[in-house]
Amino acid sequence: SAVISQKPSRDICQRGTSLTIQCQVDSQVTMMFWYRQQPGQSLTLIATANQGSEATYESGFVIDKFPISRPNLTFSTLTVSNMSPEDSSIYLCSVGIEGARIEQYFGPGTRLTVT
């Protein structure tokens, strides 16, 4: 199993500013993922964060808007840049562990409100 923590748990930010969200895992994992959950919506994958290489972004998401760092096997950050009210969402970190069965765990999420 994996225990995932995120900081901050919530924040209120002004339009045009940036926020960096941290994700810490209690064990080493190869791949980490960042998801967005807009109000009342389902989860959408933003990007895959691989240690030692550039993040891989899904369609509709770009590095300039959502830069990601992955300095080691237990930590990643997601930055939401030049925020607008449309960026108000819950951002969730996720890790996958492949053993006898695939286990996919999620962090508690960061609730971002942009005013």
Binding site: S42, L43, I102, Q104, F106
Partner: protein
């Protein structure tokens, strides 16, 4: 691209009763996983149950079981003996193997309300 459809926005069930949530998906892949996640008001995503597509046997986890119909591309979740703590949003999710390992495609979700 895969799509996951949950056609029931909300389901209400009384305590101790059984409720079934529907999920259908569209894929041309043969190797994949399916998941049900629960998201209570705390917003923590909790894995409820998983099913490997190559397994014919339906997965079960305590009070939770699935009816996996691969040909029909259907993956329903049955919650038996419903408890108040089961009140949550339930998401069906699809993962293609192996190249999309870890990347989940979610359905829109079904809100389950368990009443006393």
């Amino acid at each position: 691209a895969q799509t996951v459809t949950q056609s029931q926005p909300e389901m209400s069930v009384q305590e101790a009763e059984t409720v079934t949530l529907s999920c259908t998906y569209d894929t041309s892949e043969n190797n994949y996983y399916l998941f049900w996640y629960k998201q209570p008001p705390s917003r923590q995503m909790i894995l409820v149950i998983r099913q490997e597509a190559y397994k014919q046997q339906n997965a079960t986890e305590n009070r939770f079981s699935v009816n996996f119909q691969k040909a029909a591309k259907s993956f329903s979740l049955k919650i038996s003996d419903s408890q108040l703590g089961d009140t949550a949003m339930y998401f069906c999710a699809f993962m293609k193997r192996p190249d999309s390992w870890g990347k989940l495609q979610f359905g829109a979700g079904t809100q389950v309300v368990v009443t006393p």
